[in-house]
C-alpha cells in the first residue's frame, strides 16, 4: 500500500529543522554524545509553556508542528508516534526530587510530562486533533509500530496521518551505556566512525515526523511503500531471507533497489552482519550510512526515514552519507536498520 510523504519535520544533532535546505554542512562532534541542534522554539510555543517544557517535549512537539506546516495541514487525521524511552530527563528530574526530599513535597510539573504519550498528546492539544492518538514504546520497534498503525489507519479510511518518533539521551542512559562499554572511546569524531579500527557507538537522539497521505501533491517527497519488523533472527541467512521476502511482498526486487540506507553504527558485532550484507547482497546499490549524523538511538530509523524523504524529493545524495557509491539515480530506497534484537526494513519510491 502506497502512502505519500507530504510533509516532514526533523530535529536532530544536525541542522535538519529547516526544510528548505538539505544537510548544507555536517556538524562535527568531538564527543561520543550527540545532542539535538535546537530550532527557534519561540516560533512554536509561548514563553510560559517553554519554561515548563523539558527539552524533548520542545524538540519532539516542534518536529511534529514543522511536519504539519510543511504539509499545509492544520489538523491531521490521526497522530501516531513511537518513543523507546518516553521522556527520561523530566522523569528523572521528578525521580531525583522525590529521592532528595525523601518523598515529602514534590512538584507535579515534571510528573505531568513523564508519561510516554506526552509529546503525541501535546501535539493533539496544540492543533486540536481529537482523533486517534497512539504511542508505541517498544525499543527498536517503536517508530516501526507507529508506521504500521498509520498504514492500518489508512485502510480504515483515515487520511493525512501525522506519524513520528522521538528519543533523547538522558544522563542515566549515557552512564549506563558507558558502563556496558558500548560507547566509542573519546577522543573521537563523528565523521570517522565506520573504519574497521574504530569501534563503539555514538549516543544519539532526535525527533522526526511525517505527514502520510493517500494522495500525492506538489509538496510530496516520495512514497512510503511498506515496512516489516523481525525479532531475534537466528542467523545471517534469516536476515537475508527477511530482506528478500519483504521486497517480494512489496512487488519489488533487489535489482530494482538503487539505494540502501544501512543502520551501520560502529557497534562491532552488529556491524559485522551489516558489512557482510553490504558485500554480498547489496552489490550494485549505492550504500548510505546515517548514524554519524544523529548517533545511535532506538528510534533512529525515523531519522533515516527523513533522509530517504529528502533524497527522493531532491534526487540528490549528500556526499556526507555515502559509504559506497554505485552512481545510481535514487528512485527506490531500502532501509535496513537494527537495534539489538529489533530489526526493521522500510521501502520508499520516488513519486
Amino acid at each position: 500500500m502506497t502512502l505519500y510523504i507530504n510533509g516532514i519535520g526533523c530535529i536532530s544533532p544536525q541542522h535538519t529543522f529547516d526544510n528548505s535546505v538539505f544537510l548544507p554542512e555536517v556538524k562535527e562532534y568531538a564527543t561520543n554524545r550527540l545532542a539535538c541542534v535546537d530550532a527557534d522554539y519561540a516560533k512554536f510555543f509561548d514563553a510560559g509553556s517553554l519554561r515548563r517544557m523539558g527539552r524533548l517535549m520542545k524538540y519532539g512537539t516542534a518536529a511534529g508542528m514543522i511536519a504539519l506546516r510543511d504539509a499545509g495541514i492544520d489538523v491531521p487525521g490521526a497522530i501516531t508516534t513511537g518513543t523507546a524511552l518516553g521522556l527520561p530527563e523530566v522523569s528523572q528530574k521528578f525521580l531525583r526530587s522525590l529521592i532528595e526530599v525523601e518523598e515529602t513535597i514534590v512538584s507535579p510539573t515534571t510528573f505531568i510530562q513523564s508519561t510516554h504519550n506526552t509529546v503525541s498528546s501535546n501535539i493533539a492539544l496544540l492543533c486540536k486533533c481529537f482523533s486517534h492518538n497512539n504511542t508505541f514504546s517498544h525499543k527498536g520497534f517503536s517508530f516501526e509500530s507507529a508506521l504500521t498503525d498509520a498504514q492500518l489507519l489508512t485502510l480504515e479510511n483515515t487520511d493525512n496521518i501525522l506519524v513520528g518518533a522521538y528519543d533523547e539521551v538522558s544522563d542515566y542512559k549515557y552512564a549506563a551505556m558507558k558502563k556496558t562499554n558500548e560507547l566509542r572511546q573519546e577522543p573521537c569524531s563523528n565523521l570517522d566512525i565506520y573504519g574497521a579500527q574504530n569501534k563503539g557507538i555514538l549516543a544519539g537522539e532526535g525527533a522526526a515526523f511525517f505527514v502520510l497521505s493517500k494522495e500525492k501533491n506538489e509538496n510530496s517527497y516520495g512514497s512510503f511503500i511498506g515496512n516489516k519488523t523481525f525479532y531475534k533472527p537466528e542467523n545471517k541467512g534469516e536476515i537475508r531471507n527477511h530482506i528478500l521476502s519483504f521486497l517480494q511482498e512489496n512487488h519489488s526486487s533487489m535489482e530494482e533497489i538503487d539505494v540502501i540506507i544501512t543502520g551501520i553504527s560502529g557497534a562491532k558485532e552488529v556491524d559485522e552482519t551489516r558489512i557482510e550484507l553490504n558485500k554480498n547482497l547489496f552489490t550494485t546499490q549505492t550504500i548510505l550510512a546515517y548514524k554519524h549524523l544523529c548517533g545511535e538511538y532506538m528510534t533512529s530509523s525515523a531519522f533515516a526515514f527523513w533522509l530517504a524523504s529528502k533524497i527522493l524529493k531532491s534526487q540528490q545524495i549528500p556526499d556526507a552519507v555515502i559509504l559506497e557509491n554505485r552512481n545510481r539515480s535514487p528512485k527506490n530506497i531500502l532501509l535496513y536498520n537494527s537495534h539489538k534484537h529489533n530489526h526493521s526494513l522500510m521501502l520508499f519510491k520516488a513519486c
Binding site: 500500500m1 527520561p88 522523569s91 518523598e103 508519561t115 486517534h132
Partner: protein, 420 residues
C-alpha cells in the same frame, strides 16, 4: 508490511473486508489476570462476587506513605511472584505480573498447534522497570556510581514486553503501547486490527503495571489520591487509590476460533481511540474525548446505545474523571444502563486497568453477573444516574462497554459481546 509466514500482505487486503466495514469477528479465546483481589481469574472472580476489596494498607512497596495512603497491592513479594512464573526475581515487578497473567490467558485459550499460527504479543505498561530504577537511582545521584546501574532505562517499556514474549515463545510480532491509563485498551484494539488486516491470526493483548514510589508520589503531587479507600461516582469522592497487576486476553481470528475445543464465549466487537485535546492531565468538563471514544466503539460494533447491558466505567474516583465521564455517558446513553467502576476492588492499575477490566467484562457476560461499585453512598449532584451497588446475578448480559481514559487526553472505549 508483513510479519508472518503467510503470503498475504496489507496491499492484498486493500479493498477487501476492512474497507467495506464487514470485517471479521475477533473472538476472545482466553483470559488471564492478577490484581490485588486475586492471583488468577478464578480468585479475581471470587473476590468480585464476595465484594472483597483489594484496597488496604501498603505493605509491599517501601514508601513514606505506607501508613497514610491506601493502595491495592498484590500481596506477594517479587520472589514469590518469580516462583509462580519462572522469571528471575531481579526482573521488574511489572514483568512478573505480565508473565503470570499472559501465561494464564494462553493456557486458558488452549489453542491446538499454537506454534503453527501467526501470533503476536501486544502489551502495555507505563512504568517499565521503574521499580528497579528508583532504588538504584539513589546511588547514581550520590556519587555518579554506575556500577549498580541497570542497563534498562527506567522507562524502557519494551524491555518488559520482550522478557514475557520470550517466555511465551512469541516472536512473530511484538510491540508495546504506552498511552498512560488507556494503554491496554489500545493494545487490545491494535491486536484486533492486526488480525482484521490478516497480518496475524492470534494476538495476546493486554497490559501490566506495578506500584512504584514514582507513580505514588506523582499522583500524590497532583492531589488526586484518596487517603481512604476510593469511592468512585460518589458525590463525596476524594480521589483514586493506586493498584497494580496485569490482565490479558487472547484474541483470535474466526479461522482459529473454529479449531478450538472450548468455543470462545465473547468477541471484541468494538473499540475506538480519541483524544480530548484539552489538558495534559485533566479531562474536559463535557468529556469530549470520552464521548468520542464511546461513540466510536458503538459505531464499530454496529450496536445502538440501548443494546449495552453494562458499562465498566473508568471511574477512578477523582472528582474530575468521574464528572467528565459521567456527563459523557449521559450524553451517549440518555437512559444510562447498569454501570459500575471496579476500581474500588483493584485500585487504579494504570497501564493494566483495561486488561484487567476486560477480564471482568468477559466474566460478566459469561456468568450473567454485574459487579457492584463498592462503597457508593451519595449520588453525584451533577448526574442523573447512580452506579450499581449490589451484586446482580442471573441476568442477561450480551454487550458490555469498558472505558479507559488517561493523561494526555487519551480516551479509549472497547465493547465486548456474547459470541453467537
Amino acid at each position: 508490511m508483513a510479519f508472518h509466514k503467510g503470503d498475504v500482505t496489507l496491499s492484498e487486503v486493500e479493498g477487501s473486508c476492512i474497507m467495506q466495514g464487514k470485517s471479521q469477528q475477533i473472538h476472545i479465546a482466553g483470559k488471564g489476570a492478577i490484581s490485588a483481589i486475586g492471583n488468577n481469574v478464578a480468585e479475581n472472580f471470587a473476590s468480585l462476587r464476595n465484594l472483597q476489596t483489594g484496597v488496604s494498607k501498603i505493605t509491599v512497596l517501601t514508601t513514606r506513605y505506607a501508613e497514610t495512603l491506601p493502595a491495592a497491592e498484590v500481596k506477594l513479594t517479587n520472589e514469590e511472584l518469580a516462583a509462580r512464573c519462572g522469571l528471575n526475581s531481579n526482573e521488574p515487578r511489572t514483568a512478573l505480573f505480565s508473565l503470570i497473567a499472559a501465561k494464564e490467558a494462553v493456557t486458558d485459550a488452549n489453542i491446538p498447534d499454537f506454534k503453527k499460527w501467526r501470533t503476536g504479543f501486544v502489551s502495555a505498561n507505563t512504568v517499565g522497570a521503574m521499580d528497579k530504577t528508583e532504588t538504584i537511582y539513589k546511588y547514581f545521584m550520590e556519587d555518579g556510581n554506575t556500577n549498580k546501574l541497570i542497563e534498562e532505562d527506567p522507562y524502557d517499556a519494551g524491555y518488559v514486553t520482550e522478557l514475557v514474549a520470550n517466555e511465551l515463545g512469541i516472536k512473530e510480532h511484538i510491540t508495546t503501547i504506552s498511552t498512560a491509563c488507556s494503554s491496554s485498551a489500545n493494545a487490545m484494539a491494535y491486536g484486533a486490527r492486526l488480525i482484521k488486516s490478516n497480518q496475524l491470526d492470534i494476538v495476546v493483548a493486554g497490559g501490566c503495571d506495578a506500584m512504584s514510589r514514582f507513580t505514588l508520589n506523582g499522583f500524590n503531587s497532583l492531589m488526586i489520591l484518596d487517603t481512604n479507600p476510593c469511592t468512585p461516582y460518589d458525590d463525596n469522592r476524594k480521589g483514586l487509590n493506586l493498584g497494580e497487576g496485569a490482565g490479558y486476553v487472547v484474541l483470535v481470528s474466526e479461522k482459529v476460533a473454529a479449531t478450538l475445543s472450548k468455543k470462545p464465549t465473547t468477541t471484541l466487537s468494538g473499540y475506538a481511540n480519541a483524544n480530548d485535546a484539552f489538558h495534559q492531565t485533566a479531562s474536559s468538563p463535557e468529556g469530549k474525548g470520552n464521548f468520542m471514544a464511546m461513540q466510536g466503539a458503538l459505531e464499530m460494533s454496529g450496536l445502538a446505545a440501548k443494546d449495552i447491558d453494562y458499562i465498566n466505567l473508568h471511574g477512578t474516583g477523582t472528582p474530575n474523571n468521574d464528572l467528565s465521564e459521567g456527563i459523557a455517558v449521559q450524553r451517549i446513553f440518555g437512559a444510562v444502563p447498569k454501570a459500575s467502576s471496579t476500581k474500588p476492588y483493584t485500585g487504579h492499575t494504570l497501564g493494566a486497568c483495561a486488561g484487567i477490566e476486560a477480564v471482568y467484562c468477559i466474566l460478566s457476560i459469561e456468568n450473567g453477573i454485574i459487579f457492584p461499585n463498592l462503597r457508593f453512598q451519595t449520588k453525584m449532584k451533577e448526574l442523573d444516574f447512580t452506579p450499581v451497588t449490589e451484586l446482580l446475578q442471573n441476568i442477561e448480559v450480551n454487550h458490555v462497554m469498558s472505558n479507559s481514559f488517561g493523561f494526555g487526553g487519551n480516551c479509549s472505549s472497547v465493547i465486548f459481546s456474547k459470541a453467537n
